[in-house]
């Protein structure tokens, strides 16, 4: 009798945990997953409260300050009568700290929007390809092969050369470049799943093609998409920063980290602080997504633990 009640206790406890919460709990126990969550959580807070944290407007020109002035921090002995500038003043006499803080918004938006775009289009292409088969599958997959025959950043550069420079075009280019990865992933998932019994059962019960695809087949691709998407955000942020650094992405005076580095790359010997801070910002953001992606891969996809622990 006692045993049965113990058993029901365990069963109810188990059923109370939703899969998402269960995954989050595992993620929190995973060392890189935890580090990723902390870094990204902090970053999201900074992005949300940017106007509160930043003492100045990111594009405001501070006429009274010396251009490329070194950081002035009161706690570290900067005279109290001077205005405090934690990261110093940039080449256009703007407060660098405010610019770096506001840059977090742009960077997160860039990563999430490009990946959302790539995942949606990639999923559509992959699903259609696997579902339709035949010549359509061939054409779509050969196109993906060709896109993958270019180093991704260079293809993005080539696409920007067609669309013209600018932040939106750069994002579009990075999004397009990331499509093949997701298309292939979804295609292979759909191919392995589409003839399994539970799909056949659904078909036998008279479910429509759309219902089968979206409700029965595609949910199987969600886990790998989350993992690849998270790691993809890291790459997208790096690539977007690179395009802006080269002068092909965000235009001044936008507070974009890559652009800040590009604008001040020649001051590295005279004003290194202008290069160091935006770079650290990029590094931590990318590190956050990489760690989270590694953690997610380890806990969600036991088959792929190879590159992790």
């Amino acid at each position: 009798m006692e045993n049965t009640s113990e058993l029901t206790e365990i069963v109810t406890q188990a059923s109370r945990q939703s899969p998402t919460r269960e995954a989050l709990r595992h993620l929190w126990r995973h060392s890189s997953g935890k580090a990723g969550i902390i870094i990204l959580g902090l970053l999201i807070l900074i992005a949300i409260f940017a106007p509160v944290i930043a003492p100045y407007d990111p594009t405001q020109l501070l006429k009274t300050e010396i251009r490329r002035d070194t950081p002035c921090i009161h706690l570290l002995g900067c005279p109290a009568e001077r205005e405090q500038h934690l990261f110093g003043i940039d080449g256009n006499s703007r407060d660098l700290f405010s610019r770096v803080i506001f840059g977090s918004r742009l960077s997160l938006q860039v990563g999430v929007t490009t990946m959302a775009f790539a995942i949606v289009i990639g999923t559509l292409i992959g699903a259609v390809s696997a579902y339709a088969g035949g010549w359509l599958d061939n054409i779509l997959m050969r196109t993906m092969d060709v896109l993958m025959a270019f180093p991704s950043l260079l293809l993005a550069i080539a696409i920007v050369s067609i669309l013209g420079t600018g932040l939106i075009n750069a994002l579009l280019a990075i999004g397009i470049v990331s499509i093949p990865r997701f298309a292939r992933l979804v295609r292979s998932t759909v191919l392995t799943v589409k003839d399994l019994e539970f799909v056949q059962a659904s078909r036998a019960m008279g479910a429509s093609g759309m219902h089968i695809l979206f409700k029965r087949i595609l949910p199987n691709a969600v886990t790998p998409l989350i993992v690849q998407g998270t790691l993809g955000i890291a790459t997208a942020i790096l690539d977007a920063a690179a395009l802006s650094f080269l002068g092909l992405g965000a235009e001044p005076p936008r507070p974009e980290w890559g652009l800040m580095l590009g604008e001040e790359k020649n001051s590295i010997f005279s004003a290194p602080h202008l290069v160091i801070f935006p770079g650290i910002a990029i590094m931590f953001t990318v590190l956050g997504f990489n760690l989270l992606g590694d953690g997610l891969r380890d806990i969600l996809d036991p088959r792929l633990t190879r590159a992790g622990k």
Binding site: T143, D145, S161, A242, L246, G258, I268, I276
Partner: protein, 358 residues
């Protein structure tokens, strides 16, 4: 094995055709009037007409594509609009530097990456392991151009006056100049492919210096390439280190390794002769994949170190809307990438006989 290579080469054809199509479309997809985009707002209608005629932009797309293919086969990549010189000449001038840089970066990332990975795996769960993996995680997350700037600052400014100082920009010091190999070998009236190859070799400063025996130039040029190569190689190095570690750890737990140990084999022999051989397969794949990141990294790093390579050439061509150069350069980089992946596939099949037989 030969059959495998032949099959892989055949599979390459459609991909290369697609790559050519993409580069062909770069010019045709520009929104707006191609003449105004390329010649600028002040182009007169007569000039425009001549331009469209010269580049054959008036014909239908099919005809244009066939002609583009024909020209490529003949080795004609068109002329640069800015410099009114053949694109092939620009390629011969700028490609060698990028190749030297990529190759040095590849050597750096592979040797250091594999070494770090092996150390990490052998010292599993010690402080050395943790430290190496932290370095690898940070290495993957750093923007190449930022690392380049930091390296330049540290090695050119902080270490100034020590023997470890390294030059932060340029390809070699002022006062040095590589000899033209065509002159060195007394070759006259070279044309076509031969001229291109000799020119290419001439501009490969490290090779040139070796051929002419100019050791001062070799050493100087090598020192100029160290910082860019380390910057370019850091991301692949980190990825290779992680891959080596996990790949080796997976193999080390297998029965045949235990058997080798049980035979009384020395630990280093077990690792070198038994474990590493099998662990190499995924590592080779990752090296192939990382070539793309090496080429992209080279493009970015050249900008940081003021190197007159392919990347700086490509970016300035895009900003100046010099489309024939953009097309030619993109095509060359994609071809190199495709070929490297072919080589990786072949070495993969060489390392793992199961793949050959599939």
């Amino acid at each position: 094995m030969l059959q495998f290579i032949a099959r892989r080469l055949l599979l390459l054809l459609p991909v290369m055709l697609g790559v050519v199509l993409v580069t062909f479309l770069i010019v045709r997809l520009i929104p707006g009037d191609p003449c105004i985009t390329m010649l600028g707002e002040r182009a007169t209608p007569a000039k425009c007409e001549a331009f469209l005629e010269r580049y054959g932009l008036n014909d239908n797309l099919g005809v244009q594509f066939i002609r583009y293919l024909e020209n490529l086969v003949k080795g004609d990549f068109g002329d640069s609009i800015r410099f009114t010189r053949p694109v092939t000449t620009l390629i011969a001038e700028r490609l060698p530097l990028t190749m030297e840089l990529t190759l040095l970066a590849m050597i750096f990332s592979t040797t250091v990456g594999v070494l770090l990975g092996v150390i990490s795996a052998l010292k599993r769960n010690t402080i050395i392991d943790t430290l190496t993996m932290i370095i690898a995680n940070i290495g993957v997350s750093m923007p190449v151009f930022w690392l380049g700037l930091l390296l330049a600052y540290f090695f050119a400014l902080t270490l100034k006056g020590t023997p470890f100082v390294l030059p932060p920009s340029g390809r070699f010091s002022a006062g040095l100049s590589p000899v033209d190999l065509a002159e060195f070998w007394n070759l006259e009236n070279l044309t076509g492919m031969k001229a291109f190859l000799v020119e290419l070799m001439s501009n490969t400063v490290l090779v040139n210096a070796l051929i002419t025996g100019d050791w001062a130039l070799f050493w100087d040029s090598f020192r100029h390439l160290i910082l860019p190569a380390v910057a370019v190689g850091t991301i692949p190095m980190s990825i290779i280190a992680r891959m080596t570690r996990s790949s080796l750890l997976e193999v080390v737990g297998l029965d045949y390794i235990r058997a080798a140990r049980a035979k009384g084999m020395t630990e280093s022999r077990v690792i070198r002769k038994h474990a590493m051989r099998n662990a190499l397969i995924p590592i080779v794949t990752i090296i192939g994949i990382e070539t793309g990141s090496l080429l992209s990294g080279a493009v970015l790093t050249e900008t940081v170190f003021n190197l007159p390579g392919f990347g700086t050439g490509l970016v300035s061509a895009i900003l100046a809307r010099d489309y024939p150069v953009v097309q030619g350069f993109t095509l060359v980089i994609a071809t190199i990438f495709v070929l490297v992946n072919l080589i990786v596939d072949i070495s993969y099949a060489y390392l793992d006989p199961r793949i050959r037989l599939e």
